[in-house]
């Protein structure tokens, strides 16, 4: 039965060569995603309100303006996609649930409530208006997202129980979401602004926003990569992970903080963009088995490319009008997943598969 492996003498070299083919594949994917990101960035610089309008045709002053608009916007879209995809991969690993997305701890509802409260409060009194202007919509969305996660943690009484966390997240999401809806109902003036936020847009992303998101991405990536081994251990179940000496509570707190920071930063700048966080890790997994270290990094790159592509399409299709970018991400990501599922019916339906 096992005769064929009798030839090679066991050695560390053969073992690590098995691992090295995997890392060669991952390195190739990494490079490919970087190249794709660069290509899309270049494309993003060429698409504007007139549709296809590459910078070679523009005059000097217009080129400067486009540097202030198209470049930060494209880069911001890539960074936001990377943040959301990283958060999604962390969420899926942390909760061992392939349907987890960055918003499952109530981040999206919290951000909506923050924005709705800001818009609502702006008209109430001059003092409130001044405060609202200082905080700004991005600040309100960020505070709302983080606040919602904190509320979820309090409701779940800590990070020890995954199921309680998920349920608390659902509750917080529903309650805060209806709070935002109530505010919108009470003051229908804010309806259009709320809708623009809910569907997501990179329209006003400037260089300061890009800086914020870049810093957030760096922080979150480092932290998540640091915790990636524990995420791998968690795939064997909590008991086994604990028996392997992993400090689950600490890692969970760190990962939830990473999740909130990444989601909050992306949502604050670009609104609620659906589906990127959910689909990017699945795309990476569909290209072959990966440990979490590689999965987190590749997910971020995939998410960035996905959102940037969607943003370009949103700007191009009905220029000079803009489609909400969340619709395009759903179309792009969803149709790719559908095609994958169609192509690998056996893989998804197998006894061992749980996707």
């Amino acid at each position: 039965m096992r005769a064929k492996s009798a030839s090679s003498a066991p050695s560390a070299a053969s073992a690590s060569s098995a691992a090295s083919t995997a890392s060669a594949r991952i390195a190739a994917q990494f490079v490919a995603l970087l190249v794709l990101g660069a290509v899309l960035l270049a494309l993003g610089l060429a698409i504007g309100s007139l549709g296809w309008s590459p910078w070679t045709e523009a005059g000097d002053t217009m080129r400067l303006i486009l540097w202030d608009i198209r470049a930060p916007r494209s880069l911001g879209a890539w960074l936001a996609g990377a943040l959301l995809a990283l958060a999604g991969a962390v969420a899926q690993g942390l909760f061992r649930n392939p349907l987890a997305d960055p918003y499952l701890l109530g981040c999206s509802a919290g951000a909506s409530l923050g924005v709705a409260a800001l818009l609502f409060v702006m008209g109430i009194s001059p003092a409130a208006a001044a405060l609202a202007l200082r905080v700004g919509m991005t600040g309100a969305a960020f505070v709302g997202a983080i606040g919602a996660v904190l509320l979820t943690l309090v409701l779940a009484r800590g990070v020890t129980q995954s199921l309680r966390l998920l349920l608390a997240g659902v509750v917080v999401g529903v309650v805060l979401g209806s709070g935002a809806a109530l505010l919108t109902l009470m003051n229908p003036d804010i309806l259009r602004a709320m809708q623009a936020f809910m569907l997501g847009s990179t329209g006003y992303v400037g260089w300061s926003a890009v800086q914020v998101m870049a810093v957030a991405l760096g922080l979150c990536l480092l932290t998540a990569l640091g915790c990636s081994r524990t995420l791998d251990a968690l795939t064997l179940g909590e008991d086994t992970a604990r028996s392997l000496g992993q400090r689950l509570t600490l890692i969970r707190l760190l990962l939830i903080a990473t999740l909130s920071l990444a989601t909050g930063a992306a949502v604050a700048q670009c609104g609620l963009i659906a589906f990127v966080g959910l689909v990017a890790p699945h795309l990476v997994r569909s290209w072959g088995p990966t440990t979490h270290g590689a999965l987190l990094l590749l997910s971020a790159l995939t998410g960035g490319a996905l959102l940037l592509a969607a943003d370009i399409a949103a700007r191009w299709v009905i220029a000079p009008q803009e489609l909400p970018v969340g619709i395009i991400t759903a179309l792009l990501g969803g149709s790719y997943l559908l095609w994958l599922m169609h192509r690998r019916k056996a893989h998804f339906g197998g006894a061992g598969g749980s996707q």
């Binding site: 066991p10 995997a22 000496g245």
Partner: protein, 317 residues
């Protein structure tokens, strides 16, 4: 007959992989080598057909210090139900302890309590020091755990899963060292899962997957090995292989505790712990008539315990 089965890469004896990997994690005590005494003790405990001298050599793994694990439990409740009543257990090193009993006796719960995975009223000590005072990684190096029906990600390769067993030995974020690779390969070859190390776990059958998970537990190279229903999905040849591996561990000085449903395999252990209703009814070697009485009691005298070719077997009456 079984000697041929585990002959993949007939290793040239003690000088091969085990020695090099032994150098990296032997702490203090000299690495045990496969001496004739080991082979002899292995042969005493088991049927001659199951194991051969050469095979014992391939399974030898150098363990460091083997700690003494001791539990003194007053009560353990899950929810509002008291599952375990006062008991105490100290699995001996250089011995294989099998916990048996009817369904619902609390065997898995007891094993999880011993592994420090369940809170209970009582004390759990490792080498005399209470369990919580140990640093997590040091603990993990001493005690390895293999759970029952473990969920596992479908996306990792078998090799990556087995490599997870080396986590207690790896510094934070350090890449896998040569010793880690060697240990994983050795463990996977022991469980005969080496051939599909590059396949994703989701594409393996139940038995293949179980062998990968077993390799993961073996790769920890811990002094104490706790396994809950490790024979799930394994067909009889692989069940024998598993018993052989356990014998090898015991020969190297380790302590193995397993919860087993398969009485026939359990009756090959060094000590049987018979449980019923959350209590330890009897502890003793399998050849002891008192052990047989205890077994009959807890299984309502529906067993036929007899000796076949020098081995104790339990048949359904």
């Amino acid at each position: 007959m079984s000697a041929a089965r585990f002959d993949d890469g007939g290793r040239p004896g003690a000088g091969g992989v085990p020695a090099s990997s032994g150098a990296s994690f032997a702490t203090g005590s000299a690495g045990t080598s496969e001496t004739a005494a080991d082979v002899a003790s292995a042969a005493l405990a088991m049927d001659a057909g199951v194991n051969g001298g050469a095979a014992a050599a391939t399974d030898a793994v150098t363990l460091g210090h083997v700690p003494t694990l001791r539990i003194e439990l007053r009560a353990l409740s899950l929810g509002h139900r008291q599952v375990l009543h006062p008991l105490s257990l100290a699995p001996a090193p250089r011995a294989w302890t099998a916990i048996v009993g009817p369904n619902g006796a609390g065997k898995s719960t007891l094993l999880r309590a011993i592994a420090g995975l369940l809170p209970f009223d009582g004390t759990l000590t490792l080498d005399g020091k209470p369990w919580p005072t140990w640093p997590a990684k040091a603990r993990a190096r001493q005690v390895a755990w293999l759970g029952q029906n473990e969920a596992a990600s479908e996306d990792l390769t078998a090799y990556d899963i087995a490599m997870l067993g080396r986590l207690p030995h790896q510094p934070w974020l350090a890449p896998a060292s040569a010793a880690d690779h060697a240990a994983v390969e050795h463990a996977m070859r022991q469980t005969q899962s080496w051939d599909w190390r590059d396949r994703a776990l989701g594409s393996l059958s139940g038995g293949e997957r179980q062998r990968v998970l077993l390799a993961r537990a073996l790769a920890v190279h811990s002094g104490v090995l706790l396994m809950d229903e490790p024979l799930a999905h394994l067909d009889p040849p692989h069940q024998s292989d598993w018993a052989r591996i356990v014998r090898g561990r015991v020969a190297a000085g380790g302590a193995v505790v397993s919860v087993l449903h398969e009485l026939n395999v359990a009756l090959q252990a060094d000590t049987l712990v018979v449980m019923d209703g959350g209590r330890i009814v009897h502890q003793g070697p399998p050849h002891d008539p008192a052990t047989h009485d205890a077994l009959q009691r807890v299984f309502h005298h529906r067993l036929l315990i007899l000796q076949v070719q020098g081995r104790w077997v339990a048949l359904n009456a």
